[in-house]
Structures are given as C-alpha cells and as structure tokens.
C-alpha cells in the first residue's frame, strides 16, 4: 500500500458537523436493539463505538445514516432531524459494497454525478480523491480486480468525495488481515488530518478504537446503552508504538473490563439466555 498523499490536494475540503442523539430507541419487531441511547459528538471529533457483537452499535450508525427510523428519541445532524440517507453522511460499510458494474473511477464519481455535477467534473474530483487514497493507477479497473484493502480505500474515497459532514464507518477494516488493518488505520488518520470530518467508527477491536479515536464510547449488550464515555488523551499524531504508552494500558484495561462483563451477559450459558 502506497502512502496517502502528504501534500493537501487542491480539491480536498474540510467539512464537519455535529451529531446529537437523545434518548434514542430502535426496535426490530420484538427485539430492542437500542434503548434510551444518548450521544453528542462535536464537529471534527473522531468517536469510536465499541461493544460486543449484537449490541446495536451498527444500528446507531444506520440510524444516523437514515437507513432505520427511530421508534422514539431523536437524531440530529447540525440541528436537523435525520429523515433519509444522504451524501452529507458518508458511509463506509464492512463489505466494501462498490458497484461491481462500474469502474473504480465511476464508483467514486457516483456521488457527484447524483448531485448533478457534470461528467467531466465528477471524474476530475473522483480522480483527485483516488489519488488521495493512493489508487489513481486503478481508476479504470473494475472492483473485482481489487484486494479487500484496496476496495475499502475506494469505498472511503467514494464517501469523502462528497465532502460529508460526517463519516460513518461500520467496522470497515473488520474483514481485512491484521497487517493491512494496521496500515489502513494509520492512513485513515492521515486522511482525517486532511479532511477534518466528524467520524463515527464502529468496531469491536479495543486496540483499533484506542488507536483511532478522540473518544471511545463503550456500549452495553442489547439493548445498547452507553456504559462508558472515555476521553482518549493519547497524543496526536499517534506513532505506531502508541500501544506502549502507559495511558494506553490503563484505557484498555478499563474498556476490557466492561466489555468482558457485557459479553458475559450476552453469552450467559449458565442461565440459558443470550445467543
């Protein structure tokens, strides 16, 4: 993987918004995924949602993206209620979800095209963002030719090209191998340094959350509620050996304790409940 462009590309813009979630509840039939969940994210903040699988952290993300409607409570982005999906909230999925029938460049140009930008101009900005994630040379290939990590980079470029206020990332590196994951994390932080988006990043990997985030929100087993709102004061830019920082171990211990407790609830074999 080549390095992210170190100079600021001319078309890259800073854009960020705030998120206000108040007493949010989301049910799927009889299953209560999220109950009385509140979260406030400042513009430009990098927040990780951390929790056991099935805790509803992706549901929060899908709520902000506009894919699911709250049963009660509210989701506001820059004081406007979320009603439907839109490019102001860029989404990066766990599976890359690129359109297989469009070339890499066409995939990135899709958002601008939908907004009515001319084909030539859309391709120009798309090219810019592809270069930003180091994949300019792959513009004319179809997604099937890309590795998992490359496809995810295209997915990130495809979201960023719309200058989203908020970048929603649903375990984007979960399906990648460990080495690729580390490189992706480092490059995501470099990109974030350029674009300055508000980022909401869902993960179940504590190291990943602590490496990336300003704040780590630990969520309980379903129905999801905030167990811990951890302010992560590890210095930025974060070196690769940030894991050796003394605070890192403290943070990790605290998160781990809570996650263990919650995973224990979700997998309570003795009482015959849970998964």
């Amino acid at each position: 993987m080549t390095a992210i462009a170190s100079i600021r590309a001319p078309l890259v813009r800073t854009s960020h918004g705030r998120i206000d979630i108040d007493s949010l509840s989301i049910n799927f039939g009889n299953h209560q995924a999220i109950a009385d969940f509140s979260l406030h994210v400042e513009p430009g903040e990098f927040v990780c949602l951390l929790g056991p699988s099935g805790c509803g952290k992706s549901t929060v993300l899908n709520g902000i993206a506009g894919f699911v409607t709250p049963n009660s409570g509210s989701i506001l982005v820059d004081d406007e209620t979320v009603t439907k999906p839109g490019p102001d909230r860029g989404m990066v999925f766990q599976q890359h979800s690129l359109l297989p029938w469009k070339t890499v460049l066409e995939n990135v140009a899709l958002g601008p095209r939908m907004r009515g930008v001319s084909k030539a101009e859309a391709r120009l900005v798309a090219r810019e963002y592809l270069d930003l994630v180091g994949l300019g040379a792959w513009a004319s290939h179809y997604p099937a030719a890309l590795s998992g990590g490359m496809a995810q980079r295209v997915g990130i470029a495809r979201a960023l090209v719309n200058h989203p206020k908020i970048l929603l990332m649903d375990e984007p590196f979960g399906a990648l191998d460990a080495q690729t994951r580390i490189i992706m994390q480092e490059n995501l932080l470099k990109l974030w340094g350029l674009t300055g988006n508000t980022v909401l990043f869902v993960t179940h990997d504590i190291d990943e959350a602590l490496f990336l985030a300003d704040r780590v929100i630990v969520i309980s087993a379903a129905p999801g509620q905030v167990l811990l709102d951890l302010k992560n004061d590890l210095p930025r830019p974060r070196p690769q050996d940030i894991f050796a920082h003394p605070s890192f171990a403290d943070y990790k211990r605290e998160c781990l304790r809570l996650i263990r407790q919650e995973s224990g609830k979700a997998f309570d074999f003795a009482n015959g409940t849970g998964i």
Binding site: A65, F67, L99, G111, M114, A144
Partner: protein, 274 residues
Amino acid sequence: MMLRLPSMSWRKSDVRGWSLGVVSLTVFVLAWHLATTYHLNFHIRFVNVPTPGAVFLRAVKAAGDHRFIAHIWMSLERILLGFTLAAAVAVPLGLTMGRFATLRAVVFPVVEVLRPIPAIAWVPMSIMLWPSNEESIIFITFLGSFFPILINTLHGVAAIDPAVVRAARSLGAGEMDLFHQVYLPGSLPHIFTGLTVGMGVAWVSLIAAEMISGQFGIGYFTWEAYALVQYADIVLGMLLIGGLGLLSSAVIRLLGRTVMPWSRPISSRPGCFK
C-alpha cells in the same frame, strides 16, 4: 501483482476444443451418410431419410430460390418482433416487480398459472384472440420468450447485494437513479440468461405456430415438405432451424459481453490477474 495474458492468440485448450468439435461433426455426418446410403433398418427406418449429399444439393438449389429465402426472412422477422416485444415488456416489468413487493404479490400468481402452459397449447386460443394469422404467430413467439425473461429478471433483482443498494442510497440516489445505476446493471447477468433461454423457447414456439397455423416461414416450409413428400426439404428445414437458433443465441451472448464488460473473466481483462 500483474500478469499479462495474450488476449487474441490461440491457446492450447482452444485448439483442442475446436478440433474435437470438427471430429464430432464429421463422425455425425459420416454416420448419417452410412445409415442412409445402406438403408439401415433396425426398427428405426432410414429407408426414406435423405443422404447428406442429397440435402446438400437441395440446399445449394434452395439458396438461389427467392421463395425459400422469403421463408427464412419471414421467420427471422417474426422471431425478432416477438422476442423484442417480450424483452421490452418482461425486463421493465421484472425490474419493477423485483423492486416493489406489492406489485410482485399481485402479478406473480397470474404468471405462475400461465407460465407452465406450453406455447403450442396457446395456438387455438391465439387464433381466436388475434384478428390475423400473422399476429397470432408473433403472439405465440412473444409468450414463449416472455416468461423465461421475466422470471430471470426477477431473480436478477433478488440477487443484488442489499449493501450495494444502501451504498447508492447513501450517495444520494433517488428511485430513478437506483433503477439506472443499481437494479438494471445489477440484474443484467440474470437478464441475459433469461434472454438466451427466451430466444431458445421463442424458436420452439415459432416453429410450432408456423407448422400449425402458418403460411410462410421455415416451420411451414418444413411441414409442407412432409406433406409434399419432399424428404430432403424436411432435413434442410430442420438443419436451418438449428443453425438459426444457434446463431441467435450467439448474437445474444455477444451482446451480453458488450454491455457487461465487468463480467468478463478476470484473466481476459487488460492488465490484471488476481
């Protein structure tokens, strides 16, 4: 990792495939020749079956006969009309049915009842329904290809990754954008399967309709040859139907490859190998 494969050159497997094809056809024609020349008779009777040579001579003569050429044109015209109409109705209908569950629930039961009825069983009804013979033949051809195309389009929509739909929506795609950018291209591989199958059934239906209710057309020619005891013409008609069917399938496959460049096997695309 890149590996360039020579794209237009002959590979060993191609040569092998082609030579086996030639051998297979040669053996077939030779067996036909022997069976007919020596009037083989072991329950199946080859007594009246014309030899390959006789059929060939008849074909050469027919190629210069404008009435024979008119039969071929007639059938091609009917196929083109019936098949194109079927595709033009079935593909949009399948896409909308795939997208909207309510429409699917309303239309699907009717489709399931009508679908198993073979086109040939539609002949009497078709003659009653349509004012002219020509229209009823085209209608039967239409029906034959309609259902395979519709069902495969429906499967195509169902096979689209929901994550891709969500991705497009989060990029700002409206309902029309979704159809153009996601549902149509995403179902194209299945649609082309439907078109290929539909083209096959269209020929089956057309020939049946031409034999029963037709004037002109290659099916009528073949049936008329039997009535007039022109044995060589029967075989000529059969071979022609086979050849035209093969040709129309090839055209659809070619069309499919042209409109779906992403579905080509990875090794034949420029500059990539995974």
